[in-house]
Symmetry: none
Subunit: 190 residues, 4 copies
DNA sequence: CATTAATCGAGACGGTACGTCTTGTCTTGCA
DNA sequence: TGCAAGACAAGACGTACCGTCTCGATTAATG
């Protein structure tokens, strides 16, 4: 059923755009009732977010054998999933909606932020295992930096998505190696 | 009258957030009729855009004498401007709405993004002048990274704003020095 | 506009019945927005009630020259307006809905009960003027008796509507004359 | 199990009223599943009908020795049974729903209306036996008048229930004696 | 100075999406 | 197997809001 919702949202976003998308239309297209949508997602924005962003972005940063390769791939995956035509609108609007409600913040953090952070951490742990890094860096900062750069690049600067992954990965790789000898601050990565 | 509208929009954004802002409320707060608003702005989004973005650039990176100091101050300024309770909601939602309209994207870029990028560049040019950096880095990437990290830290990770400036500045400083020997890429803005 | 709503309700009651009537359908049929309906009526039941019952019932009990004639006419008018095919459902359901909410009780009383009571009083005042009655009777009781009898006759006993007016008028006329010498109780008719 | 359903329906009618009663709530209160309800009753209305009307006739007009006394007592009994806080909602709404279904009308008449009419008739027959009345009046009309007045007094005029019995009984008594010399009409039930 | 024209506030209007609710059916998992 | 628990499709409810429109009242400009 979640798949049907996701598919319906993507079809309709392509057909009528973000502003023209209605929950009723999604339900009809998916052949389900509106209640089944609201049972899963608290708001329309959350539904759209889950349908456009959620999924593969967060989960498995496959091992390419080097930190630089892993980071390039990670950036590429994030970019590709964020670059959906309507994703900009969806993500930003969702963040705006969420910010006002602590309960939604909590939900959003648990469902999207934490898994993504864990994925990032996995990549860096591999690098530590490979001795490319002496230790894990400040994960809070790294996570905000890596994803935030993609966000800003795409949705604020509106630069070409294809230009980013390699540049960002090189920058992040050098930065990690340059800052790795500093112990991370007191808030150790979870 | 335009001033009354602008003031009302800003007050209400702070009070009820972006999603809770209605044209009727703006009219009432401004003591005018809705028709007078629609005589000036074609849609609600244009009204909000005009009231929030218009001339709010605020990048004044005063010279602290060192790159690390400048970056810390820069981060602090960005954080302080972004951390207004309702600014989160307003900015993110506005980005979402803007993304759908290329004309607004263009205006947003010219009025907001470019000046900020110039401010960032000014800080780094100073560091070059001070010989702290051998050359200007990839400015597109640096700009996306610096602002994006703040954005993500505040509005996605929802971490403590006070924790960020120093950490980010140290990270950015080390990263810049580590990557400075690489020639920046062609730097073609997309 | 009220006329358009009333007409739409009556058409749709005839077409789809009481249970099948929706506010959205009424709005569409009337060529107006749902909000315009809810601006006038607090609930769907109130709208239906107003469209089926309200109007001529309450207002002008035309003078026939005698108390018996007036009461017969009054009963006939009430019966004819209450005997709309769906009026039974509408009235009873409305009363059921209303009973739970003091605000609706107040509204209902002001809009429907009081005018009808005033109409009843007008008929009896005429009889006093004609010297058919020495004084006004206990209006609270008379009003409840006259309308209540119609209600019960139609919707509880389900007797033939045409049988009622003459019988009720004769009964009421005789009863009024028999009880008229008693002073009405302390709550004098308003 | 039927007993559990019936009890749950009655409790919930008293607590939340007719409009607020849901099948899900009945099932939960009865500690059973919704399917078990729908196995017994085709619709919600049938369930409520079965739970409320079934054997609740309650007309016991005990002899007080005089017509006025009997009528006062009769009014008091009717008022007391109708004045339960939630009974108003339930009864009126049920009448509304019933009206749409001729089969339910028939059952309602046989189970509820006829016994009450017989009770009324019993009171008047006693008065005839006592020579307080020369003959039985138009029973259809009297029955509609007596019960209808209570209905209207309570649920339309929303007057104080305690004020009614004595006034109604006096009125009815005088009216009966005033109209008793007229032969009742053919009395054919419609 | 008086009359006309323009502009304003106030808010009703048509239209439409929202998120909630309920009905009656269908599925699941425990006893 | 039979039931409680509850998910499901369908769709109405009443609310909110947008952008348009109408209405008087107050200005402003003009004859």
């Amino acid at each position: 059923m979640d798949a049907a919702i996701t598919a319906a949202v993507r079809q309709l976003l392509a057909e009528v755009g973000y502003a023209g998308l209605t929950v009723a239309a999604v339900a009809e297209r998916a052949g389900i009732g509106k209640a089944s949508i609201y049972r899963r997602y608290a708001t329309k924005h959350e539904m759209i977010f889950a349908a456009t962003i959620h999924g593969e972005v967060l989960e498995a940063p496959l091992d390419t054998g080097s930190l630089l390769g892993d980071l390039t791939e990670l950036a590429r995956v994030i970019v590709s999933h964020l670059h959906h035509p309507a994703a900009a609108s969806a993500l930003m609007s969702l963040l705006g909606e969420i910010a006002a409600d602590p309960a939604l913040v909590e939900r959003f953090t648990r469902n999207f932020v934490e898994p993504e952070r864990a994925g990032n951490a996995e990549v860096l742990k591999r690098a530590v295992r490979r001795r490319e890094l002496p230790q894990l860096p400040d994960m809070d900062l790294f996570h905000a930096m890596f994803g935030g750069t993609v966000l800003s690049w795409l949705f604020i600067a509106h630069h070409d998505p294809d230009d980013l992954p390699e540049r960002l990965a090189q920058f992040a790789c050098a930065a990690l190696q340059a800052t790795a000898h500093q112990p991370p601050p007191e808030n150790a990565p979870s």
